[in-house]
Symmetry: C2
Subunit: 154 residues, 2 copies
């Protein structure tokens, strides 16, 4: 597998990143260069306005030649094997992948429009902090599967 | 909502339960009496034999008048609202609910046979320890929704 560049954006503070997330990032970095980057949450109560402000912060950071994957409840559900094949393929083709984890109210439509792929992890809703950990575990698992390790068991 | 009794079994050690899980349990206990109980993992390599041994440990602990919910990839996918309504209904009808989180290779067919309901959280696979935390968060969320708090946002 090519050594890709993975950039993961979330809306929140750097101090929210816990030790388990750091450990997954450390392990992911053996296979790809990976960064988990906080973007400040929009400080407005109206969900639509907040999502719009967050999108305006995020979108200028993403280059045209980066493949954007958005974790989104409207996305495609994949099992871990299919997700790993998908990630492997995009790393080969694009080299640089960007992931976005939505804020408290999800993501703005403009982010969905820019996305190359929407991926759904669950029909259930999870707190932002827990979902960040979940997404890192699943990304780590995907890279381990592609790398041929025995971390993933059927 | 009736104050139900929730018993959550997992295959692993008590020392694996982390501070976030303990915090969710503490909060769940405001609404229901809840216990997270470790059962020792079968120390055999063959997945089928391990699952069978684990089932033999688990099943005698469950009374006929307890409603058994198994987290299982073959289960029904529910969103958080549907799951909360389902949990609320079973607490009203049964009072005592038992949850099972499968071991490293999932659950034995005999556990599926005993189950009143199989529930799927995701098409993806998660490590046992992370899934335990996920299931506690989702259970807490379900009880908060049923209790009418504003923890859950659409």
């Amino acid at each position: 597998m090519k050594k890709g560049v993975l950039t993961i954006y979330f809306f929140g503070k750097k101090t929210e990143i816990d030790s388990k997330e750091k450990e997954y990032l450390r392990r992911i970095n053996f296979r790809c260069k990976a960064d988990l980057i906080p973007l400040s949450q929009a400080g407005v109560k109206d969900p639509s306005a907040a999502k719009k402000l967050e999108a305006e912060k995020l979108l200028p950071k993403i280059d045209d030649n980066e493949y954007l994957i958005v974790w989104d409840e409207r996305g495609k559900s994949m099992d871990s094997i299919v997700f790993s094949q998908f990630i492997g393929k995009q790393i080969e083709e694009w080299g640089s992948l960007v992931f976005v984890i939505g804020g408290a109210h999800g993501v703005d439509e403009s982010i969905r429009q820019r996305a190359n792929k929407l991926v759904k992890a669950s029909d259930m809703i999870w707190t932002r902090n827990l979902f960040r950990l979940m997404s890192l575990e699943q990304l780590y698992r995907a890279l381990e599967i592609q790398g041929g390790s025995n971390f993933h068991k059927e």
